[in-house]
């Protein structure tokens, strides 16, 4: 049983096809609601956590404990005038934030979420190649950022976009090689390791334990993907003011902002799925989603702590690190995974 079937069952009185069409629509709606709710929760958590680390109080005016602050903020952003720079390249400028947000929602749609009590499996997409799809969807978001940088005709934005490209190129390859090691290890247990659900379910021991190097490389790559400190070179506020999103105002800026926080949550989910055993655990047939959520939130808090306590690395040093340390480390990880799979047979 999964969400789709439950919904179709609910709409069953309306014959087969209308029921499934409605079920798909509602499933998509639920997904978007889930993404939005998790974004709101993330931003609230970030503000409160940041305030606690920095000896401040944080939002405490709108609603009880400031819980409605983000609603007020987003209403403010929606109500703001969207100022369009005169020299922009119009189409890329307008679609860039949409691409970022779309890539985010799309990636959420591809994750397996595990079981949740009565509803059953929360997984939206059941594909045999969902791992490939996931990384394809993840590659969409940087395109939006690069488009934004080049289309807004601002020098800060261009430098930010250039940095973004350099950054993406240098961490994508180590990231994919460390994912390859995972697939290799899982292929010993399952016939179809490219299916994310299979990949998660064969993790009797979380893959983060045998592949501790891979976990490190992948986590660094995910931090860089979400682009927060120490890897926020492309939108560094003290150098490039705000990099690629400098010319965006109103809700268009809000989309970039949501993209940032969304990708922190997304990368935490992916890391906990691929390396920390995902939704596996006792009674995972009922509470798998809860396990996944707990792991993800812990990773999110770790990410926030990193964000708030380290300075920004310089772009050339990051590129250096990507090619000179992350790439060899991921290859070593691949070799270790091979030895473990063939020799030891984990």
């Amino acid at each position: 049983m999964n969400v789709l079937l439950r919904l179709a069952q609910f709409f069953a009185p309306l014959t087969h096809y209308p029921a499934y069409i409605l079920a798909y629509l509602f499933e998509t709606l639920f997904l978007i609601i889930f993404v939005m709710v998790s974004l709101v929760a993330m931003i609230y958590l970030f503000r409160k956590y940041m305030a606690r680390l920095q000896l401040r109080i944080g939002p405490n005016r709108v609603g009880k404990f400031g819980t409605l602050q983000l609603i007020a903020d987003s209403l403010k952003l929606v109500g703001k005038e969207s100022i369009l720079p005169a020299g922009r390249d119009d189409l890329p400028y307008r679609i860039a934030p949409i691409i970022v947000f779309l890539g985010l929602v799309l990636s959420f749609a591809l994750l397996p979420y595990g079981q949740f009590f009565y509803i059953g499996s929360l997984t939206v997409t059941n594909s045999d190649v969902s791992l490939l799809l996931l990384f394809a969807a993840l590659a969409i978001m940087p395109i939006g950022e690069i488009l934004a940088g080049f289309s807004s005709r601002n020098k800060y934005a261009v430098v930010g976009a250039l940095r973004g490209v350099a950054k993406d190129v240098s961490f994508e390859i180590p990231m994919m090689i460390s994912v390859l090691a995972l697939v290799m290890m899982a292929s010993a247990k399952t016939a179809n390791p490219l299916n994310l659900t299979n990949l998660v379910e064969v993790q009797f021991i979380p893959y983060g334990i045998p592949q501790i190097i891979g976990l490190g490389v992948f986590f660094i790559a995910m931090v860089a993907r979400a682009s927060y400190s120490p890897f926020d070179m492309s939108e560094s506020d003290s150098e490039l003011v705000s990099g690629h999103s400098i010319e965006y105002t109103g809700m268009r800026f809000g989309m970039f902002y949501m993209g940032l926080f969304g990708s922190i949550f997304l990368s935490s989910l992916i890391v906990s799925l691929l390396y920390l055993g995902g939704y596996n655990g006792p009674f995972s047939g009922y509470a798998g989603f809860v396990y996944l959520l707990i792991k993800a939130v812990i990773l999110v808090l770790i990410s926030f702590t990193i964000w708030l306590s380290v300075p920004r690395i310089r772009i050339d040093k990051f590129v250096n690190m990507g090619w000179k340390y992350l790439l060899p480390a991921s290859i070593i990880n691949l070799i270790i995974a091979g030895i473990l799979t063939l020799g030891v047979g984990i």
Binding site: M50, L53, Q54, L55, R56, G87, R153, K155, Y156, V159, L162, R163, S229, P230, D232, M233, S236, D237, S238, E239, L240, V241, W307, L308, S309, V310, P311, R312, I313, R314, I315, D316, K317
Partner: protein, 377 residues
């Protein structure tokens, strides 16, 4: 007015970029005209004057005693040091020395102010490098100093506390107790902040070996203060030409021979530790007696006349702060000239930020410790 199109690359293929005056890392209203070759900076031209009020002219139009408030607004994060600088000159010119108790009080306040200034710098430097959290830890500590200032003179930042011939308010037991309480808890907090920076590998990689300033170059450009000491020149006006009662105090001048950003960082932190040492000694040594020279009573203040010329040097938190005062025998200064250390230290930026990356230029301009009230005056 130029008519060249700055949006296109020039003949070298360099692109001109305007950083500031509204830019998060220029600490106020500095505008840097930067020529970029990709990420590498080829030329920097600082453009200043956005906060220019011509304090020198305003002081010429006012009585000697009125000029003091304009000095508060120069280096507004370390205002007491500015007041000391002006009064050193004015009291020599007018011939009204402060009583000894006032000198001790001034030393205590000036050193507290120096710590406050360095704390602001330390927090802002973290922000320049992308570190958000230490900023707040620095400001919490600074706030404690500003509470003491409020207790003493009623204002937080632009204190206007000292005056020709002494200070406006005497210390009482509560203030002394507050100061001692602060100096007791501060060193531990300072070490916390310090370790938040230096135990971070990325911080070290962003500062070590970057922005190297040779001592000869530094002196040639007129760079003073912590920047000069980080280049290996042991020069501090407090030791070289002691003013107030600094010759009766036991403290060291921190010097580093590494000449880079990290050296300047370490020197400033060591200066804070030395300031705590000075305050602890000075508070205990405050002598009894009047805190105000009766020759400079409030009713007589505007009749003070000075003749001749005086150049007084003091060590502010940014460097050597000099006041050149010329009097013509009238009640107003004939000419008042301020040597602002921030301005001189800023003039080194085009030299230091040549052929470095944008991120490094931000770090270098962070270590200069600019306060624009003082640069532009």
């Amino acid at each position: 007015m130029m008519n060249t199109d700055i949006s296109k690359p020039d003949e070298h293929g360099w692109v001109e970029l305007n950083m500031g005056p509204q830019h998060p890392s220029t600490h106020g209203v500095l505008r840097l005209k930067v020529k970029l070759d990709g990420e590498i900076i080829k030329e920097v031209e600082p453009v200043i004057g956005y906060l220019h009020r011509n304090a020198e002219k305003i002081c010429e139009l006012d009585y000697y005693c009125d000029s003091l408030i304009y000095f508060d607004r120069m280096d507004y994060v370390g205002a007491m040091n500015m007041e000391v600088g002006f009064l050193e000159a004015a009291e020599k010119l007018l011939g009204i020395p402060p009583p000894e108790r006032a000198e001790w009080i001034r030393v205590v306040m000036a050193e507290l102010s120096r710590i406050a200034s360095h704390l602001v710098w330390a927090g802002a430097f973290g922000l320049d490098l992308g570190m958000l959290t230490p900023f707040f830890y620095c400001f919490v500590e600074r706030e404690k100093i500003l509470r003491i200032f409020t207790e003493v003179c009623g204002t937080r930042q632009e204190t206007n506390y000292m005056s020709i011939g002494g200070v406006y308010q005497d210390f009482n037991d509560k203030i002394v107790h507050d100061i001692l309480e602060f100096t007791e808890q501060f060193p531990k907090k300072l070490e916390d902040i310090f370790s938040a920076y230096v135990k971070n590998d990325i911080f070290i990689s962003r500062t070590k070996g970057i922005g190297i300033l040779e001592p000869e170059v530094a002196l040639n450009y007129g760079v003073t203060g912590p920047m000069l000491r980080a280049s290996g020149v042991e020069y501090d006006v407090r030791k070289a030409e002691p003013y107030l009662v600094y010759d009766k105090l036991n403290f060291d001048i921190p010097v580093s021979y590494k000449k880079d950003n990290l050296a300047r960082f370490l020197v400033r932190f060591e200066e804070m530790r030395q300031s705590i040492k000075i305050i602890n000694q000075a508070v205990k040594k405050i002598s009894d007696g009047p805190y105000f020279n009766p020759k400079a009573k409030k009713s007589l203040m505007i009749r003070l006349r000075g003749e001749g010329e005086v150049y007084a040097r003091t060590e502010s938190s940014k460097g050597e702060f000099g006041v050149y005062l010329v009097g013509d025998g009238g009640v107003k200064p004939y000419r008042l000239r301020v040597r602002s250390p921030s301005l001189k230290n800023l003039s080194i930026l085009p030299y230091l930020a040549k052929d470095v990356m944008i991120a490094d230029m931000v770090a270098i301009s962070g270590t200069i410790d600019l306060v624009f009230g003082e640069v532009d005056r």
